[in-house]
């Protein structure tokens, strides 16, 4: 059996080394690339990213990656956007004025609401993911298949996605009184607001499920 290979989108944004190391750790090969043919030939694609939405989109556009990512997601092979990489899947963000996203999942990105003198932003640290309305079936056959309800994973962000269609929400997380969407699934397209590559064994388990999805060549 061949070892799955995962393309990690290389667009000069933040630390991608941890993601690459985590992919190796769970038994797949990675290639850090921005080449169309290499990306389209991969078994799975990961879009990492930290920082500002607008800057991230500008980089993707400047490197001609927007079309390549769309083409990959149309193949039904699994795709995962992490942190900013998840946020950019949506239609738009209001971070520093309105900015258009990849438009692969309907919805928008906005700043986490805060409780005065209580909520620190960015939201940094470990927090719990759970399924919405206890619909635990939604995690079956997804990257959260082997993840228990109320698992702690690592977050660092000030903005979060609001999917238009509730059925796209895979997990939710609460920070003080604010509840936000912490992961999404729309067909073969996944997004995590948290960093699986920084979430110790729990995160590696999620990446491992992502790799497992590549083996049946389908994201869903």
């Amino acid at each position: 059996m061949t070892i799955p290979y995962i393309a990690v989108v290389d667009y000069n944004l933040g630390n991608v080394k941890s993601m690459c190391n985590a992919i190796s750790k769970v038994g797949a090969e990675y290639i850090l690339t921005r080449e169309r043919e290499v990306i389209l030939a991969a078994d799975g694609l990961i879009l990492p990213g930290v920082g500002a939405f607008q800057h991230g989109m500008q980089q993707l556009e400047a490197l001609g990656l927007v079309d390549i990512i769309s083409a990959f997601t149309a193949t039904s092979k699994p795709f995962l956007g992490v942190c900013l990489g998840m946020q950019m899947l949506f239609d738009e963000s209001n971070e520093h004025g309105n900015c258009k996203g990849l438009g692969l999942i309907p919805g928008h990105v906005e700043k986490l609401s805060v409780v005065e003198n209580k909520t620190k932003l960015p939201h940094v640290g470990w927090n719990t993911i759970l399924s919405k309305d206890n619909e635990t079936d939604r995690w079956q056959d997804s990257i959260l298949k082997n993840t228990e309800q109320e698992t702690d994973v690592y977050f660092v962000h000030s903005y979060a996605a609001n999917p238009r269609d509730q059925e796209d929400i895979l997990s939710i997380t609460s920070y003080n009184e604010t509840v936000f969407c912490s992961s999404v699934k729309k067909g073969n397209i996944y997004g995590c607001q948290f960093h699986p590559e920084k979430s110790a064994e729990s995160g590696l388990k999620i990446l491992s499920e992502f790799i497992a999805l590549t083996k049946n060549k389908k994201g869903n």
Binding site: N21, P122, G125, Y175
Partner: protein
């Protein structure tokens, strides 16, 4: 439920993990990668590597430590000590670090924090503050607590937030390595002064010191060194004690 973080701080000099008292009189306590890996496997939430001498000639060995650490360790890693340029930050991130802690250069050229957070995102910039109590309140220091700056710690922490830092790490220099417990007064004042997360460092000698900090303040994160390096208590023992006392920490 948002969890409060227990962070291992590993100070490094010439490839060794070291520990001093009040940031001076450094003693070797082990090999940095071995310590980091052991703390990771035992459930630490984050790791901070601080270059204690910040010597230019030794920068490559710090990068090697980070590269090695990130192969096996899948929690956030912060690097501090001697970060003076955009290129220094890029090198740290390329080695696999997630964040950098900046003290001296922020004092010398505050705009460096703004520039760094614009390029790398504020989530990656930790404003590091060394604090000593004087007759007029808390004063910020540089050079491992040797050189006073004349800046009031609370005002400086707020300024770091305004400049673009994503977190503040405060070290109570007079408590460092003394195992007398965290400076609760300092931690509480800084926490209330800022709207970004605070990491408190310096003084923890036993698990109860951590519990005191978490029950008496709203501080989100704390860094420990001596407790772990001298094997007073393990990460899992500390976590178990905090959970039994109803503190919200990750198991």
């Amino acid at each position: 439920m948002h969890k409060r973080r227990v962070i291992a701080r590993i100070d490094i000099k010439n490839n060794y993990a070291i520990k001093g008292i009040q940031l001076e009189g450094l003693r070797k306590v082990g090999e940095p990668n071995n310590l980091a890996k052991a703390y990771y496997e035992d459930g630490i939430d984050e790791i901070v590597f601080m270059d204690a001498v910040a010597a230019y000639y030794d920068r490559n060995s710090l990068a090697e430590i980070i590269i090695k650490a990130t192969q096996d360790i899948f929690v956030p890693i912060t690097v501090g000590g001697g970060i003076r340029t955009v290129d220094d930050i890029k090198k740290a991130l390329d080695s696999g670090a997630d964040k950098v802690a900046i003290n001296t250069q922020a004092i010398r050229t505050p705009e460096f924090i703004t520039e760094a957070s614009r390029i790398f995102g504020s989530q990656c910039i930790v404003g590091s503050v060394e604090a000593k109590k004087g007759s007029h309140g808390w004063e910020a220091y540089i050079e491992n607590g040797r050189e006073p700056t004349g800046l009031d710690v609370m005002a400086w922490a707020k300024r770091l937030e305004a400049l673009g830092a994503g977190e503040i790490m405060i070290t109570a220099v007079d408590r460092d390595g003394t195992k007398k417990g965290f400076d609760i007064d300092l931690a509480s004042q800084v926490e209330q002064a800022i709207g970004i997360p605070l990491i408190v460092s310096g003084g923890a000698g036993k698990a109860e010191d951590i519990l005191d900090l978490l029950t008496e303040t709203n501080v989100e994160a704390l860094a420990v060194a001596s407790i772990l390096h001298y094997k007073v208590e393990s990460v899992s023992d500390i976590k178990a004690m905090l959970i039994s006392a109803n503190c919200k920490v990750r198991k």
